[in-house]
Each structure stands twice: as C-alpha cells, then as structure tokens.
C-alpha cells in the first residue's frame, strides 16, 4: 500500500505522453501505482489493480483474481444488503477482470440495480458494465430497457445522455425494437439540450446501421436535415454523420441536404482560423466537420443548381489554394488536419470527375506530396493518385510523375508505401509507358517482399498482356516472371501464356525458340518446364529445322528435367512426348522406349501409368493418319475474361482491379487490347468477343441472318413463330414423337441440329444431347441451358466438349463453348424425377412423365381389382378422339410399349382392345397407372381411359397418349 504514497510523490515524474515523444527506455512503470486522481473514491479498486500488476506470473494473477471473484460473490450473496457505493466498486472490479480477458458470469443483476440509482457515478458504472458485458438474458434486457426508458424520460440531460450512450454502445436489435421509435422524437424536439441531440443523432445512426428496418422514416427526417443549420457546431458534427448514413439508402428524401451542406462548408472554409473558437483545431477551422460535410457531398452527383455548384467549386478551390499557403503552425496536428480536408476535397473532385481544371490541380498537389518528408503524406498521395489515374482528365497528369513513383518503389523503406507505389504504377500504365513500367516492376520483383510478390506477378502478367504491341515482348515478360519469381507464378498466369501463344500464330515460332533457350538454363523453375513442355509439344516443329534444336535435342532437353518434376508436370511432359511422335516420327523409337520403361508403365501414380500405357499403345496401333488427327494442333481457345484479372480481383476484393477493368475513360487508350485479338492480322478467325453475331458479320451464303445473339438463338427458334421454313417437322411435332420413343432428332433448322439419345430406369434418366453445327462457320460462346421444373432435377453431367483424347492434356478448366462448322458436340444430362410433373424442361427436352414408367405385369383378376380401387371420378381421365394415323394393331402395340406401360393380354374380353399397366417412379412417390385403349375401326375413333392414383397424372398421361394415334 505504500505504493500509493509513492505514486503520489512520483506523479510528476511519471512519463508524460501528452505530446508524442520517443519512447523512453523503461517507460512502463510497472511498480508504481497512481493515486486516484480526481473525484473518486474507489480505493479498494486501486488496491486490487495494483495487486494484479504486482503478480509475477500468470498463475499468481489467476489466483488473485479467483480470490477476488470469491470475495465479490460472497458480498453479492451475503445477507447484508450492499450499499450503492460497494455495489459500484465490486461491479467495477468485475469489469476490470473482464477487460483483463477473463470470463465473468455474474454481477449483471447488481449492475442493473445501479442503473436505477439516482447517484450519477453509480448509474454511470452500471451503464458502463452493461455496455461492455452485454447479456442476452431476456429478463435482464427487460430490466435494462426499463431503466433506460426512465432515464430517457427523466428530462435530466446528463441521465438522458448516459442512457443514449448505452443504447449506442450496445446497439442490439432488442434495443432497436424498444427505442428506435422514440429517439427521432428526442433528436428533433425543440426543448432537447444540445448534448442530448448529439447523442441522440449518433445513437440513431448506430441503431439504423444495425437494423435499418426498425427506424421509421417520417416527418422527422426533414427536420434532421435542418440540423445542418444548427448554431451548435457539435450538433452539426453529430447530425452530418447520421444524414450521410441515411441518405445513402434514401437519396431523394435527403436531397435538400446538398445546398445546406455546401453553405455550411463554405462558411467554415472561408472563416478565419480563430472564428470558430473551440472548434478550431491547431489553426484549422472545424476539420472534423469539414471532412464529414465533404463526405456527405460524395453521396450525390454534382449539385444541379448552378449557384450551389458555383459556391461549392469556390470552396474546393479555396481548399486547394490554402494548401499552397505557408503553414500557420509547425505542429504535425496542424498539417494533418489541413491535409485531411485537402484529401477529402480531392476525393470529392475525383467523385465528380467533371472539372478538368480541379482534377489537374489535385494531381499537381498530390505530386508535391509524393516527395514530402512525411511518410504518411507520401502514402496517401500514392493512394489518392491511383483513383486520379482512372479519370480521363487527369490520367496524363498522373503519368508525368512516373519517375517519382518508380523511385518510390525502389527506395521507400516501408513495404506498405512500396505497395501503394506498385498499385499506382499499375493504375497509370497504358500503351505509352507499359514497357517501362513492366520492366521496373520486374526489377522490383527480384527484391520485393514475399508478401506482395504474387500480386506483383499478377499485375505484371496483366499489363504485359493488355499492352503488348508485339507478342514476343509478352512472351519474354512472362518467361522472365517465371525465371525471377517462379514460385509466385500461379497456374492462371502460365495457362494464359499458353492460350495466347496457341491463339496467335505469329508468335508461336518465337515462343518455341525462347522456351527452348530458357530450358537450357541449368536450374529452371518447374513452371518453365510446364510452359516449355507444352509449347514444344505444340510448336516444336517450328524450330526443328535448326540443328541446335533438332527433334532429338528438344526431346532430350525436356527429358533431362522429367525426373525432377512433380507428377502433374510429368503427366504434361508425357503428352508432349506423344505429340513429338506425331510431329517428329524420328523420335518415335526413343520415346516408345521411355514410355515402355517400367518406371512409366508400372508407375505407382495412376495418371502417369495410364498415360504411359495409352500413349504407348496409341503410338504402336494407330496409323500415321489417325495419329495426326488425334494429335492435331490445339484449336484456338475461346476468349473469356482474363482468368488472371479475375484472380487479382478475388485477391484484392471488389474494386481492386477496377482501374484497368472498368476501362479507362481516356479516349487515347480506348484501343487497349480487348484480349488476345487486338491486331487486324487475324481477321480471318472470328473475333472472340463477337459470339454468334460473327454469323451476321460474314454469313455463309445459305445461312439466314441470325436475328439475335447466340444466347437467344435457341429460345428464338423454339418460342417464336418459325421465321423460316424448317427442314424437318416442327419442334412441337418432333417433341410429340418422343413420347413413345427415346432416340431421334429433336430439332433441326438450317443452322443447328439437335439429336437426342436417352435412357430411363426407375426415377432416373440419362440423356445425351448432340448439337450439330450445320454451317461452315464456328459457333462461339455456344451454351445451351436447360431450365427444368422443380419436380424434375437435371444435372449436367458433362458440359460440352469434343470427345477427342487430346483434351487430356488441355489446360482448360471449363467446357468448350465453340462448335466448329460441321462439327458436333455432345452434352450429357442426368435426370431425376422427384415427383410427378407436367411441364417438360425448357429447351423442350423430351422428358415427359411417362419416361419414368415401370411396366407391370399382372393377371386379369388383379387388374380389375385395382381398376375398381381407382374408381373415384378424379382418378380417371378419358378421351375419345379421331384416329390421325392408320389404325394398325401392331403399331399401336409398339407405341404403348414405347410409352412405357406393360401390355396385358387376356384381360379385356374384347381382343381388339388394349390394356396396360405400369408404375411411375419418382423419388417422392410411386404412381400406379392402368390404361385401356378401345379402337373403333368403323368410326376411325379411339376411346382412351387412364386411371391412376393421382388426378393430374391421369389427365396428363391421357393427353400425351391421345396425341399418338
């Protein structure tokens, strides 16, 4: 306890920290305990805290705490009623223990008792405890809410504020339900004290953020907007935050805040540094309020009213001007507060993106900060410039700072600043500076922090592709990436270089030559082996003429890496080898030797073993022609969103890659590469982005003009009236045919043929769809979609894809979406019938309920017994109709069998009649079905009767079947 006296004596020499100062050695004064400073009396608490601090070990601390908890528990349980002061002290001790990180499971009730004390400090501690240790016990919540309600109604502003702080700190839904309706009233009431208004505004903000549905909008909203005019700066400061939050969801309701905010801002910006008294902070008038007002304005487009807009622009200019004035104080607080406003002003200018003059001024201002001695300012300037780079007005201005930014990348000591510099280089990159930026980033990569290497790799890969003028540069860049930071080059990056090389024949020879050289390095990264293996397998022939890279040399170079590589890479190399056999027959014997080796044929890895076995057999069985067909050069890859860009976005969250992704508004860079096809040299191949519209651009003579994009083609064909005479039956007719059969052509016109093969067992079915391209032009982005009713579940087993074996080594992850002219692709659907259903899947797949028929044989007696059981009127459906086809008994039989039912002989006394039975199998239930078909040859009529245990099924089957005869 002597510590207390000691502390009192020492208080003046305890380290002071009002002004930031470098840490002194031993500044943590563990042994000293401070006296209670002001107006306080909880000596027991101070002693306890001091004891805890003197504990030498964690165990000792826990022991001391447990002793204290036991003591408090006994006090709370004791017979003697505790006075408010003791209660406060113990509750405060519990709070301290909790804040040390220990669990507290009692004391809530005592804290709640404190809430109704009329002694301010007891109430205050009670509220603090409740705010920190929120408890979901509903009885407690009821009591707490009651206490809060009393304080809110007390008209004592200090108590009201305590209650509002508590609601704001807890911010739970329960509190919202209890108070969300009252607080707006307190906020706008004429007689509320300023401090109460401030608390009410922010309390409401917290509740609105937690549960917006609980805060009723109403007449008060208009009055809240007018708080922007309030005389009390504190009220305005609190109210702006609330308005900013509310107006995001209801911009129109709060529109009037724009002009009010502008005039308030204008008054602050133009005021002298002393006008606002205590709201001036280090000679800067109301910095927090200014920042908040500028933030609020960013919720809206530029003001429509010219006067308001003029006044605002004046404000923004004033802020920019003031940035150039000499500082009024050397204190960092002065410059921070001033620059906080400046950066928020620049954010608003960027948000409007409509004042070229201001944008360029902002850029120049940030340019000055790039070389500022304050690290914080350099960091923020780099960050802010990133957004400026995406504006067409300031993009060029940003670019002038390229050398400074490159220098920052090289010399900044703080990795987070270097990261900002890398981001900015990425954002300011365009055709004119791509080579410089990419080479600087590559150089930086050699020494970059491990944490950001992958991101830099992605950025370099994207820039190199996007701004490649000649693709040899692109190839060099990616290979450099692999060389410098192979471990950080993700699959997306090296897949991408393969796609691009495959799609561009002007770079293939160069790529082959370059990878061949790269592979000669004694130690090369495995990713290099992958890229090299793939490219040589496809284009090795382009450099085979040079004796230094003759086929055997190529092979032995690759094979020298084989044993050091992972399974995936070895699998890829095996595919390269079989391609070599096709490309270079002279290597066949050597390669067959390799494949035949025990280490391959009996490899423990299934994939490697299978490839070795299959490739070996393929190479010995297949003729040269077959081999050449199977191992034909890969077709061009369909163009999609760059997978690398997608990855960068995932990595950095939405908006991260937006600088490039949104497309810069700078007209000069509109010619950025839209993918792999930027140059007109490859006009003959259809543009990757122009899906089926490619048909319209260069239609084959016979092809009718496509009326819509590929995505709509099928829908148009099925839904619309037949625009052109179709070759076969109408889709409806074709569909009907499938009721009684499983295979055939479902649809055909001049462009497309869809064939169907299907099989059904019990409640499951599998359907093969064959899409044939009848034109001579490739279909791009071909993606048939199956929309099925809820009672039927389809599952696309395999997407579209050429069933060619070469797919084995293809690095593509998603299904083929191109259909070459004259080619056919296949799609497999797995179908499960969950319940009975009436609507077939859209795209009108011939999946009707009868497909799930299970034929059932039964004797006449059983049949009639069941027939009688199903005698309710709604269980029967009957139809009498005229025959549309010749009435041939054999054909009828075949149709009924194809329909799925069993045919029962000797049931109907009339041998001309047909009787059938079956069960429809669905996942949820089975539906028994009996049917009778009575032909009347004389009248050329049929009578069809269906009885099933489910009414809609009877009707539906009856209708389906009736159309067949």
């Amino acid at each position: 306890r002597t510590e207390i006296a000691e502390y009192r004596a020492n208080r003046s020499v305890v380290p002071r920290c009002a002004v930031p100062c470098p840490a002194r050695p031993g500044a943590d004064t563990t042994a000293i305990m401070p006296a209670v400073s002001k107006g306080d009396g909880m000596r027991g608490l101070a002693v306890f805290i001091s004891d805890i601090r003197n504990c030498k070990s964690k165990e000792a601390e826990i022991k001391r705490i447990n002793k204290e908890l036991a003591n408090i528990r006994s006090k709370f349980k004791g017979d003697k009623a505790l006075d408010g002061y003791s209660k406060k002290k113990y509750v405060c001790k519990l709070l301290f223990i909790f804040l040390l990180g220990h669990d507290i499971d009692f004391g809530h009730m005592e804290a709640v008792n404190l809430l109704s004390s009329n002694k301010y400090t007891e109430k205050q501690i009670g509220y603090l405890f409740i705010s920190v240790l929120v408890n979901s016990n509903s009885e407690l919540i009821r009591l707490i809410n009651n206490a809060i309600k009393n304080d809110l109604a007390s008209r004592n502003p200090t108590f009201m504020c305590l209650a509002l702080h508590c609601i704001a700190n807890v911010g739970s839904r329960e509190m919202g339900e209890a108070f969300a309706a009252d607080i707006p009233r307190i906020l706008v009431a004429g007689d509320s004290m300023d401090s109460v208004k401030q608390s009410a505004a922010l309390c409401l903000l917290r509740l609105y953020k937690a549960s917006p549905d609980l805060v009723p909008m109403g007449e008060w909203t208009a009055r809240v907007v007018h708080l922007l005019n309030d005389q009390h700066m504190g009220v305005v400061t609190a109210a702006v935050s609330l308005i900013t939050c509310l107006c995001k969801k209801n911009p129109d309701d709060f529109k009037t805040c724009i002009s009010l905010a502008v005039s308030r801002l204008s008054r602050i910006v133009s005021s002298a540094s002393t006008d606002l008294q205590d709201y001036t902070y280090y000679f800067v008038p109301a910095p927090w309020l200014s920042v908040k007002l500028l933030r609020l304005l960013q919720c809206y487009p530029p003001p429509e009213d010219a006067a308001v807009k003029g006044r605002l622009v004046e404000c923004l200019e004033t802020v920019l001007n003031k940035a150039q004035e000499p500082p009024k104080s050397k204190k960092v607080q002065h410059s921070n507060a001033k620059n906080a406003i400046l950066f928020e002003t620049i954010s608003l200018i960027i948000h409007y993106d409509s004042e070229p003059n201001l944008l360029v001024r902002a850029c120049n201002q940030l340019g000055q900060f790039l070389q500022h001695r304050e690290t914080n300012l350099r960091y923020l300037a780099l960050e802010s410039m990133c957004t400026l780079a995406s504006s067409e007005f300031s993009h060029e201005a940003v670019k002038t700072h390229i050398d400074t930014v490159i220098n920052a990348l090289k010399t900044e000591r703080d990795v987070s600043v270097r990261q900002r510099a890398a981001d900015l280089l990425y954002a300011m990159c365009d055709r004119s500076n791509a080579k410089q930026i990419v080479s600087e980033m590559l150089r930086y990569l050699e020494t970059a922090d491990y944490a950001i290497r992958e991101e830099i790799v992605l950025k370099v890969a994207i820039l190199a592709e996007k701004y490649a003028v000649d693709y040899s540069w692109y190839v060099d860049t990616i290979l450099n990436l692999i060389r410098i930071a192979g471990d950080y080059v993700s699959e997306e990056v090296w897949y991408r270089v393969l796609q691009i090389v495959t799609n561009r024949d002007d770079v293939q020879g160069y790529a082959a030559k370059t990878v061949f050289e790269a592979l000669q390095a004694p130690a090369c990264h495995e990713n290099m082996v992958k890229v090299g293996g793939y490219i040589l397998g496809e284009f090795g022939n382009l450099i085979a003429g040079d004796p230094r890279s003759s086929p055997p040399v190529q092979f032995s170079l690759l094979h020298s890496k084989f044993h050091l590589c992972s399974v995936a890479t070895r699998a890829l190399l095996l595919s390269t080898y079989i391609k070599f056999i096709n490309l270079f027959p002279e290597t066949k014997a050597t390669i067959q030797g390799v494949l035949r080796a025990g280490s391959q044929l009996r490899n423990a890895d299934v994939e490697l073993q299978q490839r070795a076995v299959e490739y070996l057999t393929l190479s010995s069985v297949a003729s040269t022609d077959v081999l050449a067909t199977v191992l034909e050069e890969m077709p061009p890859f369909p163009e999609r969103e760059s997978s690398i860009l997608a990855k960068l976005k995932r990595k950095k969250g939405p908006g991260a890659a937006s600088a490039l992704d949104d497309g810069r508004r700078d007209p000069s860079s509109n010619d950025i590469n839209g993918g792999v096809e930027p140059t007109p040299s490859t006009v003959s191949t259809p543009s990757p982005s122009a899906d089926l519209l490619g048909l319209r651009a260069a239609p084959p003579p016979a092809a009718p003009p496509a009326s819509a994009g590929a995505g709509n083609l099928l829908v148009d064909v099925f839904d619309g009236p037949a625009a052109q005479p179709s070759l076969g039956p109408t889709p409806e007719e074709a569909f009907l045919r499938f009721v009684c059969k499983n295979n055939g052509v479902l649809f055909e016109n001049q462009l497309l043929q869809i064939g169907v093969k299907s099989e059904f067992r019990q409640n499951l079915g599998r359907m093969y769809l064959f899409y044939g391209n009848k034109t001579s032009v490739q279909f791009q982005n071909f993606s048939p979609t199956v929309v099925h009713p809820g009672d039927l579940q389809t599952h696309i087993l395999s997407g579209l894809g050429h069933p060619a074996p070469r797919q084995l080594s293809s690095p593509r992850g998603s299904p083929q979406t191109q259909v070459d002219g004259g080619a056919q692709v296949q799609q497999v659907l797995n179908i499960e019938c969950l319940r009975d259903f009436l609507t077939p899947p859209l795209l009108s797949l011939p999946v009707t309920i009868n497909k799930f028929f299970q034929p059932t044989e039964m004797a006449a007696q059983d049949f009639f017994q069941r027939w009688k059981q199903l005698s309710l009127p709604q269980q029967e459906a009957q139809k009498i109709f005229k025959a549309n086809h010749p009435m041939d008994a054999e054909v009828t039989k075949a149709k009924l069998l194809g329909f799925g039912s069993a045919l029962l002989d000797n049931v109907d006394p009339n041998p001309e009649n047909f009787v059938g039975a079956g069960i429809i199998q669905t996942k949820a239930l089975q539906v028994g079905c009996l049917l009778r078909l009575e032909p009347n040859a004389q009248a050329q009529m049929y009578r069809l009767t269906l009885r099933t245990s489910k009414e809609p099924v009877s009707r539906h089957l009856c209708e389906l079947l009736a159309q067949q005869f």
Binding site: A18, C21, R24, D28, G39, K89, S172, N336
Partner: protein, 156 residues
C-alpha cells in the same frame, strides 16, 4: 470507425472500444493479430496499413499505442487527429496523462471516450464541451464521497 484499441509496448491491452457487433472470441483474435502487427512495425513507418478489408490508423504516445480501424472510405489523417484529440482530452483531464492513469482509472478513460466518440463517429470535438460533461460528473461524485466519510471503510 469500427473499433479502437489502446495497448502497451509489451502488448497489454489497456482499453478496447468496439463499434460493431463481434463475438468475444473474434474480438480477442483481432486484438492479438493487430497488436502483433502494429508492434512489429518500425518507428519511421507510415501510420496506416491495410488489414483485412479495413484500414488501420495507429500512433504511439510514449509507451502506449493507439490504434483505430476505419472503413475504406474513411479519412486516415482525420482519424490520426481523432487519436490525438483523445490523448489531449485524457491529458487535460488527468493533468499530464500517463499509461498508469489509464490503467487505474480505466472507467474514466471509457467515459471520456464516450463523450468524444459515439457509435464510431465523432460526437463533440470541442475540448471544453467534452470535459465539461465529465467534470460535472466528478463534482457529483466528490460530494457523494463526503457522505461516506472518506476512505476509512474502503479496504477490499
């Protein structure tokens, strides 16, 4: 602002204020992670860092680190000055504040913070107004203590 943490150079948490609902487990995890990250930074480094999807603004005052987590669109520099204004308030109230004041009078530190920031937003920036509210409370408290005849009864 999503939360504010005060911790010592030794990594001891001195004050925590959360403006978003989080479980105790999550709070402990965040605290551990951030204390480690911030303490690992060198003196001349910049006061801002990206952390998860938030921005961390921190500043060291003698043996104490003040650390705020703000959202993407929030202003870093003004947050730095929020920290400073809070330090000034503590300083004015305690009369040259030190870490020990905050340890032994933690409840006061919370009360002052509540007057200054509410729900993660600045409520009142005037030093006078904030302290007026706190001092009023202290006056009430002192008069109450007299009723109890000093501290004689108050041992554990």
């Amino acid at each position: 602002m999503q939360f504010m943490l005060l911790f010592s150079r030794q990594g001891k948490l001195r004050l925590q204020k959360w403006y978003v609902p989080l479980s105790d487990k999550e709070k402990k995890k965040i605290t551990r992670e951030l204390v480690q990250t911030v303490l690992a930074r060198k003196p001349k480094m910049c006061s801002f860092l990206e952390w998860r999807d938030l921005k961390i603004v921190y500043k060291r005052y003698a043996s104490l680190y003040f650390c705020c987590a703000i959202e993407d669109q929030d202003n870093e520099l003004i947050t730095l000055e929020i920290i400073h204004r809070y330090v000034e308030l503590l300083d004015k109230y305690f009369g040259s504040v030190c870490e020990l004041d905050i340890i032994f009078n933690f409840e006061k530190a919370y009360f002052i913070l509540d007057e200054f920031l509410l729900g993660g937003e600045v409520q009142e920036t005037s030093k006078k107004n904030v302290l007026k509210a706190i001092e009023q409370a202290d006056l009430l408290q002192e008069s109450q203590n007299e009723e109890w005849g000093g501290l004689s009864e108050d041992v554990l």
